[in-house]
């Protein structure tokens, strides 16, 4: 809502004219000032003048010669506009004048006639878009006045953002009312006074739909002349963001801005039949609205109709057929109260948000229509020269909406929410300044006028008290909660994140969507949970139409983004939810949306240095990352087993089992996926369910380090290809029993002298006892049983013990 301070002064006398102060007060009351705009003419030496004579130019058809006076000696001015005659009051740029934009005006000869300056159009003065003719001023304007300092052209406009609960502030009177409450001054509501003709209205009103229409007021004005509205009105409308059109249309906009009651003017002659009906649209009915769009209506639409057809979309926009035009002489003024949700949905459905619908969808005071219709009739009859009929048609379908609400307000309500100090005198003072009726001390009986539909409960009054008292006048106090902080799993998630950062992975945060092309490249089977995705009903773009079922497409996108910006070595991880087409395990009625940890790396990983080659990533990188994570999270009881899964390298991927339960997959991404993601080389990835990783774990127990010497030795085994290193390690480790301190594969070897399908694994073991130095008999015994255990697992010791 754009508020011209010049116009606002009609309704309130403020002690200040400082726009900054007014803006601050409005903001403190909850009306955000989005912009403060200072309007000032940028022309000079332009004065008000009267055209005394208009004559044809002796040597040109399209221009005329005028005799113009600004109160003194008449002078000759040549003019190309035809929208005026002798007697018109105009804006005269004297020789030496500057027009908007900097053009300088001199005295010059136009086809043999000397022109002393020029007569200006609105465009030339920077006042509007109307360049068709010159600016014709109101005839009462005194002559010789400097136009720049005149006509309220110097103004400040506050652009207010009114919250949806306050339709009552979407008008000049409403803004004045708010300021009046703050400044403890009165505000003024227009009191129309004008000549009226005793006559019965021609049009009757019927409300068929009391759900949608609470009240309908109409007034008729006869014998109007539609032309431009006066300069002062055009200036005010322009400052308020409205484009002047014609006097009758401008008046409807003027009253809307002034009182907050949208007004519609019909050309009465174009309304077929004698009655107006407010009803829902018929199926298949159509209406061409004022913006020229032919709209298909549904029975959810509420229309103002004559006997034959719909004439306007209720509270939203009028129809083209009954539009007020230059030919209109008989005008019907409508001021009605419409049901907010009906208007909201209608304007959304038709993609049509107007000044009227913006107010009706929030709720316009149902007490306003009579005053607004009368105010409009007053302005039409005085500015467009018509005769207003004295009789007003006022049909009320919903009396209940006209009754003020009464709230019994207990003072402890205020104290409970606002703290001490809100006693009866303060509460009564604040509420009555807000124009609410008050009676009694505790409870205070509060009568809420109909322009405040937002006030229905005691808590609504509490907010009003706080608002007018000033949100910033409350002391500050910091309450302390009972604690709780982060849960175990939240703390362990943080440990996991820190571990991954320490391993060189950077955290990424992706939007939670994936597109179908990103799904296709993985080649998931239809029954795969990752392919059974949840779709959005109303996506804005294809990119955000499917909820992610896995973190991997997002991670590939990150890799691709960085690759295309010149970075071919990347290690990223993400922690986030995926969305699966199955019920949530705990919460009813929502889909399962477990948190996952995913990671992906390309190129090489690890520290780098002069002459140090970093290791290209492969399966062993991702399994090493996992082992580091498992150490940081104290996870034991896990194993990796080979897995063939869509999208993964068939021989370089593993499923992670934790306590026997599958938790996710890690490995190398299938080369075909890598190619289709437009990446190169080996790409490693991992995606695990987060919950089992970060669930509370039994704390491992301290083991005192042995003070006795270790026995360290290597053993090499020849084993079939399919014997997992892990199995060999656990078999030999179990045989070593409590003496085993560590075991680590330090070499893997294939080829001569081993036959095909065989491999050699060399393992470094450390044995140690907590309480003694191991004897040579003990170590020999341990080695023998380890070799035996290896043999039982299918591996032969290479060489002798």
């Amino acid at each position: 809502m754009r508020v011209s301070l010049n116009w606002l002064a009609d309704y309130i006398d403020l002690g200040t004219s400082d726009p900054e102060e007014i803006a601050q007060v409005l903001e403190s009351l909850g009306h955000e000032v989005e912009e403060t705009e200072r309007l000032a003419p940028d022309f000079g030496r332009v004065v008000t003048a009267r055209v005394l004579e208009v004559e044809a130019h002796p040597r040109a058809d399209r221009i005329r010669v005028c005799r113009v006076t600004a109160g003194g000696e008449p002078q000759t001015v040549v003019c190309g506009a035809w929208n005026f005659e002798a007697g018109a009051t105009v804006a005269w740029a004297l020789p030496g004048a500057t027009l908007s934009g900097g053009t300088e005006i001199g005295r010059r000869s136009i086809r043999g006639v000397e022109s002393n300056g020029m007569i200006c159009s609105e465009t030339e003065l920077g006042l509007g878009e109307d360049a068709d003719g010159i600016l014709v001023l109101d005839s009462e304007v005194p002559l010789g006045e400097d136009l720049a300092g005149f006509g309220s052209l110097t103004d400040t406009v506050l652009d207010l953002s009114i919250t949806p609960n306050r339709p009552d502030v979407m008008s000049y009177v409403g803004v004045a009312r708010e300021l009046a409450a703050f400044y403890r001054v009165d505000y003024r509501v227009p009191e129309p006074v004008f000549a009226q003709v005793e006559a019965r209205p021609r049009i009757g009103i019927t409300i068929e739909d009391p759900t949608g229409c609470y009240r309908f007021v109409s007034r008729e004005v006869s014998g109007c002349r539609v032309s431009a509205s006066p300069f002062w009105m055009r200036t005010r409308l322009r400052a308020s963001g409205q484009r002047p059109i014609s006097n009758v249309v401008d008046i409807t906009n003027y009253v809307l801005l002034e009182l907050g009651q949208p007004i519609h003017a019909f050309d009465l002659e174009e309304l077929g039949g004698e009655g107006i009906v407010v009803r829902r649209a018929h199926p298949g009915e159509r209406l061409t609205t004022l913006d020229g769009v032919e709209r298909d209506l549904t029975p959810a639409d509420l229309v103002v109709a004559d006997r034959h057809r719909a004439s306007a979309l209720a509270g939203t926009m009028g129809g083209g057929a009954s539009e007020v035009t230059a030919k209109t002489t008989e005008v019907l003024i409508e001021a009605a109260s419409w049901d907010p949700p009906t208007v909201l949905h209608m304007s959304k459905r038709h993609g049509l948000r107007t000044e009227a619908s913006a107010r009706f969808e929030r709720g316009v005071d149902p007490a306003l229509p009579p005053l607004a219709a009368t105010r409009a009739a007053e302005l039409v009859s005085t500015l467009a020269g018509g005769e207003a009929l004295s009789e007003v048609t006022d049909v009320v379908a919903r009396e209940d909406r006209l009754r003020p609400v009464t709230i019994d307000f207990e003072l402890r309500e205020a104290e409970r929410i606002l703290g001490p100090g809100f006693d009866a005198p303060r509460v009564t003072d604040l509420l009555s300044r807000l124009h609410l009726g008050t009676e009694g001390e505790d409870p205070v009986r509060v009568e809420v006028p109909t322009f405040r539909p937002d006030l229905t409960r005691p808590i609504d009054l509490v907010e009003e008290l706080a608002r007018l008292w000033g949100y910033n006048n409350f002391p500050e106090r910091v309450p302390r909660g009972p604690g709780g902080g982060r849960s175990v799993s939240q703390r362990r998630t943080r440990t996991l994140r820190q571990a991954l950062c320490g391993l060189g992975f950077s955290e990424s945060v992706s939007l939670s969507f994936m597109r179908s092309s990103e799904i296709e490249i993985w080649g998931w089977e239809e029954e795969d949970e990752r392919a059974r995705e949840i779709r959005l009903k109303n996506p804005l773009r294809e990119e955000e139409s499917i909820l992610r079922t896995t973190l991997l497409p997002g991670l590939l996108r990150v890799a691709r983004y960085n690759y295309s910006h010149g970075l071919d070595e990347l290690a990223v991880f993400e922690l986030g939810r995926v969305f699966l087409d199955r019920p949530h395990r705990v919460l009813p009625k929502v889909p399962d949306q477990p948190e996952r940890v995913g990671l992906l790396a390309t190129g090489r990983l690890g520290g780098s240095g002069l002459g140090v080659e970093r290791r290209p990533v492969d399966f062993y990188t991702v399994s090493a990352v996992w082992r580091a994570i498992s150490h940081q999270l104290d996870l034991e009881g896990w194993r990796l087993e080979p897995v063939e899964a869509a999208g993964w390298h068939p021989a370089r991927a593993a499923r992670l089992l934790l306590d026997g339960e599958p938790v996710g997959i890690m490995g190398e991404v299938h080369p075909s996926v890598v190619r289709r993601a437009e990446l190169i080389g080996r790409v490693i990835a991992m995606e695990l369910d987060l919950d089992p990783l970060v669930a509370d774990r039994r704390h491992w127990q301290f083991r005192a380090p042995s003070v006795f010497p270790p026995y360290t030795f290597d053993m090499a085994f020849e084993a079939p290809e399919d014997l997992a290193a892990d199995d060999l390690l656990s078999a030999t480790g179990e045989a070593a029993g409590d003496l085993l301190e560590s075991a680590r594969v330090f070499d893997e070897f294939r080829g001569e002298p081993l036959s095909r399908g065989r491999k050699s694994l060399a393992i470094n073991y450390t044995l140690r006892a907590p309480d003694r130095t191991l004897s040579s008999e003990e170590t020999a015994e341990a080695l023998r049983s380890m070799a035996d255990a290896a043999r039982a697992a299918g591996a032969e010791l290479r060489g002798e013990l």
Partner: protein
């Protein structure tokens, strides 16, 4: 014995004159070796009359000790010097980054969330999470949002094609549904913060994203008033943006709080006025929306609004990170460009 004294006089020159450990070994052999004067005296001691033996023996021992000490001192000196020379030849260019560890970086959204949560943990709050795919019941109904409210329209909210259509499955538009979910499950007092993703029907541009992050705060207890809300937010502003901050609150409107407010913090980058990059010269930065919990919300979750009161606030994580670090446009949060990620820890 005179020759022993003479030896002790000349020995320091001999020992200190050595310049390598080898030379020192030679000098040591000469002074204390089997053929040395000292050794000769030692051997000759048996030929002396018994009454002279102790005095001579003692003199020999003293000579040995003196010479030994002299040699040891010189040895340490030579060893130190040798090492010094060796180390000097091992000089590095201290400015050369010859080795670099690969570092990973926490995303700015996460580190911002963690920091805000830490601040509230210090005030005794608990951190909780909640579902992102949510029902209309919790996202709207529980939060006093009428069925006709514009925020429910498809132009604002992303709906899901899942489950019973009557449940209005959607992507939560704020973290506030957790207010209702948490209060349903827990009795007061409640002091929680809820960080997480939220969703809106917005096409990505400089200032919009269909996904962003919020941190919700909720405190419900006996006797909490508007002053507690003010004090808590001022505390947060000072912890997060610096101890000099003050706050202002302007009335606003949200369905689930009343009174509702918008909280601004004084700009940390300017004194107001001028062309401040952060606040645009206003002197205040809009940070978050907040208010006292509406009694209808309490009733919905089964709390007695005449017994407890409370406040709630919700801040945009990208918003406060953007304000503090100047990250713009918004897509930098979601492109995951390593050149951006590596700027934050």
């Amino acid at each position: 014995m005179e020759s022993l004294d003479a030896l002790l006089k000349t020995a320091p020159t001999l020992v200190k004159g050595t310049s390598t450990l080898d030379e020192l070994s030679e000098a040591e052999a000469e002074l204390l070796g089997r053929r040395s004067l000292v050794a000769e005296f030692q051997r000759g001691i048996g030929r002396l009359p018994p009454e002279e033996r102790p005095a001579v023996g003692k003199a020999i021992q003293e000579a040995r000790r003196t010479l030994g000490k002299l040699i040891e001192t010189q040895r340490r000196r030579l060893e130190t010097e040798t090492e010094r020379l060796m180390l000097a030849s091992d000089r590095v260019d201290v400015s050369l980054a010859a080795l670099e560890y690969q570092e990973g970086y926490t995303h700015l959204i996460t580190s911002t969330i963690e920091e805000v949560c830490d601040i509230f943990i210090g005030l005794g709050y608990r951190v909780v999470g909640g579902p992102e795919a949510e029902s209309g019941l919790y996202n709207f109904d529980a939060l006093n949002t009428p069925p006709t409210h514009p925020s429910r329209l498809e132009s604002d909210t992303l709906y899901l094609d899942w489950g019973d259509p009557a449940d209005d499955m959607l992507l939560r538009t704020h973290t506030s549904p957790m207010q209702a979910r948490y209060m349903e499950e827990h009795d007061p007092p409640v002091y929680v913060v809820v960080p997480g993703k939220v969703y809106r029907a917005d096409t990505p541009d400089a200032t919009h994203s269909p996904v962003f992050h919020q941190i919700e705060g909720l405190a419900v207890d006996e006797g909490l008033t508007f002053s507690d809300l003010r004090g808590t937010l001022a505390y947060f502003a000072r912890e997060f943006f610096g101890s000099e901050r003050s706050i202002r609150m302007l009335p606003n409107f949200f369905p689930f709080t009343e009174p509702s407010a918008e909280m601004h913090a004084s700009c940390f980058s300017c004194e107001g006025g001028g062309q401040c990059r952060v606040c645009g010269g206003v002197g205040w930065i809009e940070l978050l929306g907040c208010g006292m919990v509406d009694p209808n919300v309490f009733e919905w979750v089964g709390y007695d609004p005449s017994k407890v009161s409370g406040f709630a606030f919700g801040m945009g994580v990208e918003r406060i990170a953007q304000v503090r670090h100047g990250v713009s446009p918004l897509r930098h949060f979601f492109d995951n460009d390593l050149r951006v990620l590596s700027q934050f820890r």
